[in-house]
């Protein structure tokens, strides 16, 4: 048994490799960007790649490469079920609705006429989102019908850049003021007004659709429950001061007594129903009931994230430090053995 791993600095792969080394699990370094990647993988039984939605190269073919290896009958991480809807809120709308998961109601329109008709008959505020982007990029609170109509005109006109230089700079300034970013970072934010990110250039503009989600008021935090191969860990993220967005705020609360059991149950239930390997669910509370705002297979992490225990499928809590990257490798090794049997 051998696992092919694409290594990228700052990604999960470092921990996968460490774990493989410590357990003598055979692995091989793969360079996915080479045209001969399939022959590199020819002696591998499994393939793991923590691809990144902001890498212009990865967005061009990572999903396609993973689907192909999976269709050849080999285990992959992330697999199709966990992966296809990554960084795609539009896809998630359909997916979560199709399995009747408790989610914040979402609305998608592919014509200006349909969107305007809906705006005329709905109430505001609503949350406008582009389908892609993380850390609250491309998310905006829309307070009035007029604001919504302006966005619709733009969506069906010149469209939106997936990277918004203005909100990017604002966020860098906020981080700078808190001492979490240096002046160089702020300078980079200014440069982005003139030179878009390579990812944004390859991606092109977002247009031809508009997406809104119901605004769920009175949430001072969102709750992130991350499911990884039959276990869940969790945290809460404060919303930014004077804002409603929590994702990417960097203000994290690890008090596990504040995680609603209902959110854990939903995470386990949706992950089991969709047969996911891994999914970070973001929840907001509506009248005390957790609703999924979005889901992603990949998750950012800080050093402290894995020191606060996890829950198993019976909702038993296991305190202390854990290694979710090892769970991923173990999950893949198990899938390979399962296929061999």
């Amino acid at each position: 048994m051998k696992i092919g791993i694409h290594h990228r600095e700052g990604s999960f792969s470092k921990y996968w490799i460490e774990y493989c080394e410590s357990r003598n699990i055979p692995w091989k370094r793969i360079d996915c960007y080479k045209s001969d990647v399939m022959s590199q993988l020819s002696d591998c039984d499994a393939f793991m790649w923590h691809h990144f939605h902001i890498s212009p190269k990865d967005t061009l073919f990572a999903k396609q490469l993973l689907y192909s290896v999976e269709m050849s009958g080999r285990a992959v991480y992330p697999d199709f079920r966990s992966n296809w809807h990554f960084d795609d809120k539009l896809g998630q709308k359909y997916l979560l609705e199709a399995v009747n998961a408790p989610m914040a109601s979402s609305y998608a329109f592919f014509s200006k006429h349909d969107a305007l008709e809906w705006i005329a008959n709905t109430t505001f505020p609503k949350v406008f989102k582009l389908r892609g982007g993380s850390g609250s990029d491309n998310v905006k609170l829309v307070k009035t019908k007029r604001e919504a109509r302006v966005l619709v005109n733009r969506a069906f006109g010149k469209g939106f850049r997936i990277f918004n230089a203005y909100t990017g700079l604002k966020e860098r300034l906020r981080q700078y003021k808190k001492g979490k970013a240096d002046l160089n970072e702020v300078f980079k934010g200014i440069v982005r007004f003139f030179i878009p990110t390579p990812y944004s250039i390859v991606h092109g503009r977002e247009r031809g659709y508009i997406y809104f989600q119901d605004f769920i008021p009175d949430n001072t935090h969102d709750i992130r429950v991350t499911y990884v191969f039959n276990r869940c860990f969790a945290l809460r993220r404060n919303v930014r001061p004077g804002d409603f967005r929590a994702s990417g705020s960097g203000m994290i609360d690890y008090d596990m007594s504040m995680i609603p059991e209902e959110a854990l149950k939903i995470a386990f239930s949706v992950a089991n129903r969709l047969k996911l390997q891994c999914a970070a669910f973001d929840f907001v509370l509506h009248n005390g009931r957790p609703l999924i705002a979005e889901v992603s297979y990949g998750f950012g992490y800080d050093e402290d994230q894995f020191n606060h225990g996890y829950w198993d499928e019976d909702l038993d809590y296991h305190p202390g430090t854990f290694n979710p990257y090892a769970w991923m490798v173990d999950g893949i090794v198990f899938s390979v053995k399962d296929t061999d049997d």
Partner: protein
């Protein structure tokens, strides 16, 4: 068991073929609007969804595959399903897919950095065929005879990029067809307008950049062979390349003689479709040293009534001459999948 199929209406052959077959055979169906935000609600009372989505529709490219995957993951039968459609209009995806199962694919090369591309170009033999990952009817396909031409294309791919709709090729092609009596003057005029106003789908998909794709050029093919697989049956034709050109797709110059279809190609189709568990696929082949090799596949393809007048083969290679109805086969395939509860997702 009373099965109901949801069908997204489109005024074209697949959709009308499905509806006619359902009407004739008293199969319960319902027309739905996939573009509505409430589509999941619309199809709650249906067991399956059939949608011949179009890679040149600015709306369809935004969410058709996503809707299909969602329904399939929720346990509904869809046509086309994930296995059949994820690689549609995506030659890069097909390169990986065919290589992963060691299919006889014309060797294909893809690069995600200019440096890698140029290193390869320096050592490669030319001519090669340059392609964008998307586009049908040969529209984004060029023969590259020299290294310097390949370098120019690679530089463009990593700088300004390419539009998915090649307006000058489209105009030339329509003009040629007009002179052969296969296109109207109106069609030619439309192509002239397209020089200034590209189609909407080309705007929505944006420019193609950040990669460059070449396929080996297989010489001495005055035809390509198109074989279409639908639910364990296969039919086919040969398409003559355009005069003074190497591209056959979209030429509309067809040879339906079944004796001209190599048996090996039919066997490859059945083998690939079974291994990949496809519902349907149109395979394009060229012949290299007497051996058929796959150029590309697509789940949906252009249609004309005479495609279905020249017989088909079954899985045991028996040939059945005469007319047939592939749209009926598609509906039957969906009914069979609903009855068996079989979802061919990756598990």
């Amino acid at each position: 068991m009373d099965i109901k199929i949801a069908i997204q209406y489109r005024n074209e052959d697949y959709t009308t073929g499905w509806i006619d077959y359902c009407e004739k055979n008293k199969i319960s169906y319902k027309l739905v609007n996939c573009y509505g935000s409430d589509i999941i609600e619309q199809i709650k009372d249906c067991d399956a969804l059939m949608w011949h989505f179009n890679h040149e529709s600015p709306k369809d490219i935004l969410f058709a595959k996503q809707l299909i995957y969602s329904l399939e993951m929720s346990g509904k039968i869809v046509f086309p399903d994930f296995r059949t459609c994820w690689h549609f209009d995506d030659k890069i995806g097909q390169k990986y897919l065919f290589e992963s199962i060691k299919a006889p694919l014309v060797p294909s090369h893809v690069f995600y950095s200019l440096n890698d591309a140029i290193k390869w170009i320096r050592k490669a033999e030319f001519p090669k065929v340059f392609k964008l990952r998307g586009g049908s009817g040969s529209i984004n396909v060029r023969l590259v005879r020299t290294r310097s031409h390949a370098v120019r294309l690679a530089r463009k791919a990593f700088r300004s990029g390419f539009r998915l709709f090649n307006s000058s090729f489209s105009l030339k092609d329509r003009w040629l067809k007009y002179r052969q009596g296969k296109e109207t003057l109106f069609g030619v005029v439309k192509s002239i307008v397209r020089l200034a106003f590209p189609p909407r789908y080309s705007h929505i998909s944006g420019k193609e950049r950040g990669y460059v794709y070449f396929q080996d050029f297989v010489p001495d093919n005055d035809h390509d062979i198109r074989l279409t697989y639908v639910d364990k049956k296969c039919y086919g034709l040969r398409r003559k390349v355009r005069d003074g050109d190497f591209r056959a797709s979209g030429s509309e110059n067809y040879d339906y003689d079944p004796d001209h279809i190599p048996e090996d190609a039919i066997k490859i189709v059945f083998d690939m479709a079974a291994r990949l568990k496809l519902q349907t696929a149109a395979f394009d082949f060229v012949v290299y040293n007497g051996r058929p090799m796959i150029v590309e596949i697509s789940y949906g393809s252009g249609t004309a009534p005479e495609y279905y007048h020249h017989g088909y083969w079954d899985h045991d290679m028996n040939y059945y001459p005469g007319k047939f109805d592939p749209y009926g086969w598609m509906v039957d395939n969906v009914l069979e999948l609903v009855k068996s509860g079989q979802i061919n997702l990756l598990d």
